[in-house]
Symmetry: C2
Subunit: 612 residues, 2 copies
């Protein structure tokens, strides 16, 4: 299958990139920018920062995990080449693969940061060294290549590295895991590609070892790398959000391939608890800057939210695997939310700048870093061209290149549509055209262009927020809508998800946004930006009038606010509680959060305090 | 003068430790625990952790700044010896001084972490190396010694180190500063002790150099060590809170000794803005864990508040200097608030465990670390015996030992009382007894036991919250109350500060506590702890009924709350806003925040959401 994640079992089966083609619309625009601009931008920076030259034997540049960015870039190129031929890109791909291959040791070891003269010995710092993590991304790139182009030099390199890992860390080897999970899903995927059971066994070993304090303790505690509690016993995702999501994804892969229902249920339980208590309205994971980690339950501050772009990608990786395994539309609900509000938020329109973190409240006007400047990962208040830790651009690139894989699946019963985007789908005897302006508009038209003669079921996800949706004019409820019938070419199904602006209130336990509401419209979270306000007013000086109607206005959402005065006081605490008089009403337009800071520096809020 | 901070100019003049003696009460109890338990506890750990043996030439243990803990311990012992003779303590003091002196190089250089075989060269890492910071604490210890015992070996060591610093970093030397301010106030104090102007000039040079990007940029940005903006231009304290406070304290010292009104005004302005926008209700400084730093204006989350104990101490150092220079009672107001709610909160009742950070909201039951365990600095949710970065215990020890210095001052007009504690004061021809159960009770009785024949002015600070205070039965307003008269021995003045529980509301710009109030009583912030609630209820499940009366109850404050149900949902955001029905009223007792977690693990809130 030409797609990421190909389980041998599960409720749903994924479709390959060759089976789903995006058509003009919200996501094709982003996929096009990715292939036409982001890939070149990344390649420029990988050379410029010296991370690619590391493979040529240059003096080592970058952080411990710099190798992984080259691998994620290779994976992105491999998926992109899977979307259609591109000889020039193919040539760039092969050149980089050759440089990578030249750095591999005879025994399969491959890392530019360890083991050479003047460097620390191999595997001498599993907590922070990221050697197995880097193999993970190498293997993922090779899997993408094998699925889209066949067995080539990159696949050879990855197999030699994987065999080396199994030799060193296998059942008779060193009882250890990597500080950053990633090799776990990669090894299962390599098993799926090669059929070599050794890789699956090794992945299972890594999943089962973690949580038993096999890593040294660190200042952030062992929860940081999920080595605090065995994954079968954990109740919720915790610690470093990207590590947590990658590990859980690998555990699902292991569970599915080994038929381990208990392990699958354990991860599903952790996912449910994480979504119920530790997830931002945007779908974002991670509320702490210090350790890029989940906070305690319901600690979801909007200002300095971390919500790392890569954690959003990890969340999609995890939810997609759970969806394939179990079919619950809640997984696709979170994927949709995360795609529209984390993954779409990170890149600039031109695909050459990125948010590393995705705050929900910007209080101070940021400054846009110059195009030639590398910034510390979370230090930029606006999108930046490159980071000293630059995991997010390459992670986005591989995600956008493979995006069509997340639209639909098949099963013995028929075909399921999970995400709404203009696309052509052709798989088995079924072909259909999906046309929509979603998420601007809630109408989705599905036209059957080819169908088997026998009846089959077309299943449509009705998003959890779509409480007024209709299917061919009949009301449908959130969840799954099934159309079981004999389809003939030319048949049309019309879904109307009734996309309208709405107010959303937080759970009372989320202290940080008490007394606030957010505005959503379909799957899109909206925000209030200073560039949309009259001079002298900022997002922090307004209170939303919840009695006034929400309207569609100028491509945004119109709301009514009251202006509150800001009185400077010597001490910001006073006898209370005191009622604050509401000011004059003003009309304000909110814009999609994923577009924020696209019009220059701006202050911004997602959560709006209520008037009165 | 036997006290910390002896400016040669200023509106008020400090009193020495020999002039003010604490009597039984809130602060004497803590000073006694400090001398009887904390000093020995610290000495044990300095040996156990290997930080003292570093001076004997042992393999280096601890972080870059470990030397400074020995110096702060010496300073604490020096002040304690200034409170009264203690031959056994004196002997321990001299033994440690001898070990420190033995590690000093012939040219005055003294640091156990740099310059020896196998170590990095001297001054090769000014951003993180803390060499000048360590000298700062060495000099402070020597100043304490010189003022309480005279010129001895420690003073010699410090002078040689200071001369070495002036040689290396003087006007013709290296144009650099230390990543952590501290040497600045220390050099001015050494000037005050020795009269050697060279130290003052060097301090001024350090203060003026900083802010001009003389340090390398770091991931946290140069604001971390206040090297972003010159101190004369800055508007507010920013970056690492301890560094910011120490630097500002040094700048006040330089300004006062050089008559630099512009510099003094600049620091006073930054202090006002910091208090108005970046200070917790407790007086705590610093809202970020990542870089132990101030956040943006009004970003004061109660959960994971950093409010480092040492930042509270830095705040007292700064406010005390500004008070002496300018006399504004607002400085003493913040000192009081910080003493009762940060500095009194950190140590356990027995003085052998400490909070490094002081959160205002504990959501999850913590675990008490074993007595023999070193914990990462901010990782402990309860008080811990020692930290891998253990700045707070030694900093507290030197503060408690010199605490009586902050009670009162004199001027040409008379005597001023800034903090209310049971104490005897004797200075010049004036002697008086202060008797009070403050802060439990608001009544303070001042009995004159000796007085010059001429009239003089007794000035009393009326705290900003004391809106119903009376002085000898007459109403007085917050600020300063002056009694100008001819006093005779036996005269008594009675101040009643009307300590009663009250509700306090936050500025509307502090998003993190919207819809909440806190309860204060006099200078003491109260909190709601799970150990005071019926089983099954936690602080997060209650809403304060603001209509119900607050009462004094069982040594705490009685309030009425409504219980709110917690409904588990799959997604913590729902159509809104929705009114939540108030549950049954229950009576709840709040306890002083500074005592929290004294009765075992507990969850806790300072800010209580309002019912309705």
């Amino acid at each position: 299958m030409t797609n990421p994640v190909s389980p041998s079992h599960g409720k749903l089966r994924p479709l390959g990139l060759s089976e789903v083609t995006l058509k003009p619309g919200f996501w094709q625009r982003r996929q096009d920018v990715n292939s036409s601009a982001t890939l070149s931008h990344i390649e420029y920076w990988l050379e410029e920062a010296g991370w690619l030259p590391n493979f040529d034997g240059a003096v080592r540049n970058g952080r411990e995990f710099a190798d992984s960015e080259i691998y994620k870039f290779l994976e992105a190129m491999a998926w992109q080449l899977g979307n259609g031929p591109d000889p020039e890109l193919e040539e760039r791909f092969q050149k980089i693969v050759a440089r990578v291959a030249s750095a591999q040791e005879p025994d399969g070891y491959l890392n530019t940061n360890f083991g050479r003269p003047g460097q620390q010995p191999r595997y001498s710092d599993l907590e922070w060294g990221h050697e197995l993590y880097c193999y993970g991304h190498l293997i993922q790139a090779a899997v993408a290549r094998a699925r889209t182009a066949g067995h080539d030099q990159l696949v050879d390199v990855a197999i030699r590295a994987a065999d080396h890992v199994c030799d060193v860390f296998g059942p008779d080897g060193r009882t250890a895991v990597c500080g950053h999970a990633e090799i776990e899903p990669a090894l299962v995927e390599l098993y799926r590609v090669t059929g070599n059971r050794r890789y699956l066994d090794q992945a299972k070993l890594f999943v089962d070892r973690r949580g038993h304090q096999v890593l040294q303790d660190i200042e952030f505690g062992r929860a940081y790398f999920q080595d605090d509690v065995p994954i079968r016993e954990a109740q919720v995702l915790r610690g470093h959000a990207v590590r947590a999501a990658y590990l859980a994804a690998g555990a699902v892969d292991v569970a599915v391939e080994t038929g381990d229902t208990a392990l699958l249920d354990a991860v599903a339980r952790q996912w449910r608890n994480t979504v119920a208590r530790r997830t931002y309205l945007t779908g974002g994971f991670g509320s702490r800057h210090q350790d890029e980690a989940f906070g305690d339950d319901f600690v979801l501050p909007p200002d300095r939210a971390y919500s790392e772009t890569c954690a959003g990608i990890g969340s999609v990786m995890l939810a997609w695997r759970l969806l394939l395994a179990q079919g619950d539309p809640a997984y696709a609900d979170l994927i949709e939310r995360t795609l529209f509000n984390v993954i779409a938020t990170s890149p600039s329109d031109d695909g050459t700048r990125f948010f590393y973190t995705n705050t929900l409240h910007q209080r101070v006007l940021g400054t846009e870093p110059p195009a030639d400047q590398v910034v510390p990962r979370a230090a930029s208040t606006l999108r930046a061209p490159w980071f000293s830790v630059s995991c997010c651009p390459t992670n986005l690139a591989r995600t956008f290149a493979a995006l069509s894989a997340y639209i639909a699946t098949v099963s013995d019963e028929g075909l399921q549509i999970h995400q709404y985007a203009a696309a052509s789908v052709r798989t088995g005897g079924i072909a259909l055209e999906i046309d929509t302006d979603y998420p601007s508009d809630g109408r989705v038209t599905i036209r059957i262009t080819d169908s088997p003669a026998d009846p089959w079921t077309l299943t449509l996800r009705i998003p959890h927020w779509a409480t007024e949706a209709t299917l061919d004019g009949e009301p449908v409820r959130p969840g799954l809508a099934h159309l079981h019938r004999r389809f003939t070419p030319g048949d049309t199904v019309t879904l109307d998800l009734a996309v309208r602006p709405r107010l959303t209130a937080p759970d009372a336990r989320i202290d940080a946004v008490r007394g606030c509401v957010a505005v959503e419209r379909g799957p899109v979270v909206f925000c209030l930006e200073s560039v949309d306000l009259p001079s002298g007013l900022g997002p922090d000086t307004l209170r939303l009038d919840a009695e006034a109607a929400l309207t569609d206005r100028d491509g945004g959402v119109g709301i009514t606010c009251r202006v509150v005065g800001e009185e400077d006081t010597a001490w910001p605490y006073s006898p209370g509680p005191a009622a604050r008089p509401a000011g004059d009403p003003i009309a304000v337009t909110l814009r999609p959060y994923h577009n924020w800071a696209s019009r220059g520096p701006s202050t911004m809020r997602v959560w709006l305090p209520l008037a009165g």
